[in-house]
Structures are given as structure tokens and as C-alpha cells.
């Protein structure tokens, strides 16, 4: 069952990767990167259950945090042209 979910996640990873690679505008790329982050967060936790070691969930939490901060950083770079104040 977990393997089936993993395969479905892998398929949707590949589909989103297409959008990440040939996205028309950069906002498409940002969206795709964010969605890939979500898919991988789910993938790590499902993989942990599949291997019978659910401690891997800590990594998912970290990645959920990092994904949000990374997306905010990219968006700020587009808005202001820099990450600082100037």
C-alpha cells in the first residue's frame, strides 16, 4: 500500500518536474518548486512508514519549514531585486 502511494508520488513528481524545467514564466517555476517540496515532504514520511522507521518524520518537518522560507526568499528576490533593504 505504501509502495503504491510512493509510486503515485513519484509519477506526480515527474509531472511537476516537467513544469519546473520548461515553465513559461518564473512564477510557474516557483509554484512547481513549491509543489515538489510538498510532494517530497509527503514522500519522506510515507517512505519512513514503508521502511518501518517513522523517525524520518523529523526530516519532513524540517523540509516543510525550509520549503516555505526558500519560496519566500525567491519571491522577495523577484519583488525587490535583492534580499536586503537596499
Amino acid at each position: 500500500m505504501f509502495l503504491a502511494v510512493l509510486i503515485a508520488l513519484a509519477v506526480s513528481f515527474l509531472l511537476i518536474l516537467v513544469r519546473l524545467i520548461n515553465g513559461k514564466t518564473t512564477f510557474d517555476r516557483i509554484l512547481a518548486a513549491n509543489s515538489i517540496g510538498t510532494i517530497i515532504v509527503l514522500g519522506i514520511s510515507v517512505h519512513g512508514f514503508y521502511m518501518g522507521r517513522p523517525e524520518f518524520i523529523d526530516i519532513s518537518i524540517v523540509y516543510a519549514l525550509i520549503n516555505f522560507i526558500g519560496t519566500v526568499a525567491v519571491l522577495k528576490l523577484f519583488d525587490k531585486g535583492t534580499l536586503g533593504d537596499k
Partner: protein, 143 residues
């Protein structure tokens, strides 16, 4: 970024992120984690604050002087734990004498040492972000 929703979300998330960093820091003996990862997570919270508000606002809650002090304090703490062992009559960086039994000593030693690593990594990351975000040499050349 002038977005009210993002600002409120950052204010709500700031504390849980630091709390999770501390969990990773002090739970490193039993699960995955440790000083290095915890330092990065706590630094990520401050970087998020600096991104959504501004670097100047972040410098109010984490002043550069405190940042530099903690940066040095982490490495100092690591060395100092070793020196305590040396004074009490053991080799450098062996933690057996820090507690009442050998195991308790090892626990105390590992906890302190990891805390030193976390402090250094966190503050190095924050100061790197400060210096990258504030550096305006390239901007002047472009204009």
C-alpha cells in the same frame, strides 16, 4: 515585502520554528538531529523574519553585537568543556568526570558540546545573511 498575510503568518510561525530547533538540539541524543541542524533551523527562523519584515527590524531582535558575542561564545563553550575535564584530572575533551557517574558525565558533556556547536552555527548563518544582505559595493558599481 509589504504583504499583511505574510507578515501575520511569519509572526505566528516564528516561535514554533525556534521551538522545533530547540527540540532538534536537545533530542539529538535519542533521534536524528544535533547541534549543526538545530543551529541551521533557528537561523532559518531569523532569516525568515529578516526577509518578510526587513534586515533592520531583524537587527532589533538580534543585534549584531549580540550576534558576534554568541558566535564566539559557542566555540569557546566547546573548548571550555574540554578544559574542565583537564582541570579535574582527565584527558582533554573526555567527559567522564563531569557528572556523578561516567554515563551522567558523558550526557552532560555531549549536551554542552552540542549546544556550543549549535550556537556557533546559528550565529554564523545569521551574520552571513546580514553581511550578504547589507553589502552594497556591487550596487554602487552598477549605478
Amino acid at each position: 515585502m509589504d504583504n499583511l498575510i505574510l507578515k501575520v503568518c511569519t509572526k505566528v510561525l516564528f516561535t514554533p520554528i525556534i521551538l522545533f530547533g530547540l527540540y532538534v538540539q536537545f533530542h539529538g541524543d535519542f533521534g536524528p538531529g544535533g547541534g549543526f541542524q538545530a543551529g541551521v533551523i533557528v537561523a532559518a527562523a531569523f532569516i525568515l523574519y529578516a526577509l518578510v519584515f526587513s534586515v533592520e527590524d531583524c537587527k532589533v531582535i538580534m543585534p549584531p553585537k549580540l550576534n558576534f558575542f554568541l558566535l564566539a561564545l559557542g566555540a569557546f563553550l566547546y573548548g571550555f568543556v574540554g578544559v574542565i575535564g583537564l582541570i579535574l584530572g582527565d584527558p582533554y575533551l573526555s567527559y567522564d568526570v563531569l557528572g556523578s557517574t561516567k554515563e551522567a558525565g558523558q550526557h552532560v558533556g555531549i549536551l554542552l558540546v552540542e549546544f556550543g556547536v549549535g550556537l556557533t552555527v546559528c550565529n554564523v548563518m545569521i551574520s552571513l545573511f546580514y553581511s550578504f544582505a547589507d553589502f552594497d559595493f556591487g550596487k554602487k558599481n552598477n549605478d
